[in-house]
Subunit: 522 residues, 2 copies
Amino acid sequence: MGRVKLYDTTLRDGTQAEDISLLLEDKIRIAHKLDELGIQYIEGGWPGSNPKDVAFFKEISREKLRQAKVAAFGSTRRARVAVEKDNNIKTLLAAEPDVITIFGKTWDFHVREALRISLEENLELIFDSLDFLKRHSGEVFYDAEHFFDGYKANPEYAVKTLQAAQQAGVDCIILCDTNGGTLPFEVARIIGDVQTRISTPLGIHSHNDSECAVANALQAVEMGVVQVQGTINGFGERCGNANLCSIIPSLQLKMKRECVSDDQLRNLQDVSRYVYELANIPPDKRQAFVGSSAFAHKGGVHVSAIERNPETYEHMRPELVGNRTRVLISDLSGRSNVMAKAKEFNLDLDSRDPVTLEILDNIKEMENRGYQFEGADASFELLMKKALGSHRKFFQIIGFRVLDEKRGEDQRPTSEATIKVKVGGKVEHTAAEGSGPVNALDNAIRKALEKFYPKLKEVKLLDYKVRVLPAGQGTASSTRVLIESGDRHNRWGTVGVSDNIIDASYIALIDSLDYKLHKLEE
Amino acid sequence: MGRVKLYDTTLRDGTQAEDISLLLEDKIRIAHKLDELGIQYIEGGWPGSNPKDVAFFKEISREKLRQAKVAAFGSTRRARVAVEKDNNIKTLLAAEPDVITIFGKTWDFHVREALRISLEENLELIFDSLDFLKRHSGEVFYDAEHFFDGYKANPEYAVKTLQAAQQAGVDCIILCDTNGGTLPFEVARIIGDVQTRISTPLGIHSHNDSECAVANALQAVEMGVVQVQGTINGFGERCGNANLCSIIPSLQLKMKRECVSDDQLRNLQDVSRYVYELANIPPDKRQAFVGSSAFAHKGGVHVSAIERNPETYEHMRPELVGNRTRVLISDLSGRSNVMAKAKEFNLDLDSRDPVTLEILDNIKEMENRGYQFEGADASFELLMKKALGSHRKFFQIIGFRVLDEKRGEDQRPTSEATIKVKVGGKVEHTAAEGSGPVNALDNAIRKALEKFYPKLKEVKLLDYKVRVLPAGQGTASSTRVLIESGDRHNRWGTVGVSDNIIDASYIALIDSLDYKLHKLEE
């Protein structure tokens, strides 16, 4: 079996996604990350379509990549224009990439509807463009746009377009499922037929519109395809492209087709997070292999089994892609979840210790009131510390007041909070404003406590979630507040539940600061 | 080809997902939605594992579902316990569901590691449990846990466990890829072999740990499997279960295997959104078929092509699943939505009327600030009335104050609101308490307005939802409040957005009462 090569198009197809727009500097930084991950080909952009992409190729030629080749993307020549005079083709050559990839039309419907030329002319466009590029540059790939739809509509013509590319001596022909509507068994059937008629090495470019992009890519490799195109995190137009973060580990670990080194594979989660960060998109927790929930266990049956042997409920070792096993606490969890958590927090707990049962009872009782500790590890750790008697009381809140006032029909309300805290015998009484009552209270609590514990300044509120619990009682119903806080090194979650949203927020805010103080002491 | 039946486990496996926890009321509401969508089997929970699930079966038996059958989930009997004395089996029968589904072990490794019994004993567990259930209840399904991993490890034994189930006369044997590590071509090969040895109808239950859950399910149906298990939006443990929102349209539209009606299929996006909303999880834009980006076009080439013919870059018509085409640069598609709404509200609106454009601009500006009118028809109708000049001002809020006070460390905070309103020249200044600031404000507003409009007493707050909008700014970020109100005859939704939760709640509360007053007048 030939080695499968990875072709990343995060920087081109990936930026077609809604909400994703990368700066030139971002693109350069991502290119380096992809190079380190061991990606063989990095498609940097379409220099014929916008100036940012022209600048990218200028810039990247000055950077030293370890091993990756940089590819420029473009289209076949225009109709009725000689190939050597075609602007798009000239711009591609001028960008001086290591590889040139151009796309052409496979689907007769598109030749008529979009290009508005004869089927014969389209074959000439493909042959001319590739033949010219092959004679004036190095490696050249051909993206057969809409290949699968084209094949389904007119298999003879679709294969003819591939034959035109093959005749031009192209290095790889990539079968594209541009609209993403093809299913894996169709991919198998169609590639099987193509292989009897085309000898040029084949590649696959799939989209996720049927949630089958990864499966289609893997199916194609199983059939003998040697190049896989995709993007990090599956970013791309509409539902996205084939997700390389899922394809790489399956190729490497399940199909035994090595494409990167084991060390590079261990960076997969890191690369995924890095690209999310630069694209300013929150990571998808549930993402296969690299998501934070990918190896998170909640059901008691599963937890007790993975404690004995992780293979029981994990399809692979998470460490291989830089991820880790997590145990979640919920009303579905049993004693083994509590034990696993205690271990994670370095707390000394015996499964027959009455404290374990007390904690479990406590959790169940709190969850009945609406608590949920899945996103609130810090509150859970404090709870365990309290049960074990190892919780230290750093401060005492004597009382607070929050006042929201609206002074006229067109005036927005203002919020002000006053607070009284006691630390080591000293009382601090202070006040602060905020946008809304919770923000005002948060500002006042911090202002008072930072006087005694200046390190609390490091704590930032990263996320604040509110869930109103049993529907049907309107505003009198119970409220759960989940807060995520962080400092330079860590992130932690806390939770509060009350029929009063101010009270619920207060409980979660206090836990967050209390947790930070405990960590500072450790 | 036999009709494929859909088996939804959102209410059981779906709740194993991190961050997802459904209240009993939510589960009942979702069951109705699934029933309306045409799902044939709804797995409601595991009555043997927690009291919430026992309550679900009690509750659902009193509700009238149109066509769906309700299934209860459980495990085979314990080792060394007679089946008729096994608590889990007894609880299943006591729940009196339409269908009972139990899981058993297929993988020899699990039999030894998790059950710690002999391979022979495990076969007895499976046979006994299913045989007993078949004799004491109606339809019985068998989930062969870890079937694919078990088959890969020991194909002979794995098939023996299925034969034990078949011998007990079970109605369907579901092959489970519990750890989600199996790839589509493995599914094809393994099911092909099973079909030569098992004649009982087969089903598929797949997980998304390799991002192949949907592909695996479709591959299995292609092989002849007649039951597909999955969840709405793919919710489920770790990376989730097979996503029914992707499976249903592919089965129906691509594979021509009808499983719901065309009308039901058009509700798919609505059902997806509904489940996200109740689970309090933001919808995934990029989700295949139902995501808001699924038919969104950004690239210039694509946009001009789809303007001529959508088939060029769309694998199917979005309307078939209740979605729509969006053009990201020039979103002109909104006008028809406004027209449709105006018609719904019996408002006289011309598409060339400048008011239509004004409403459209207004909506766009408000949506930019975080408004969302999907669950807030009443706010939308008031907005249109204001633009048309047919809105009547029933009252004026001059101002309000809300005070939350906590008087000691162990004291719960109290909330009090004062309000001043003006109706027809008369001013009313009053005060009320409540559990939390929003409830206190709501009580005060009603108390003041009911003096002038006693019919407002009929209005009940049915639901109150809070969503904090762009994460990352903590408690200072923007807040959206959705309120559902009702009287004896109707229900209506209103919305408010502000960086201050009190203000956002106030806006939605006022709209709700204003709407009622307009309806009383009509």
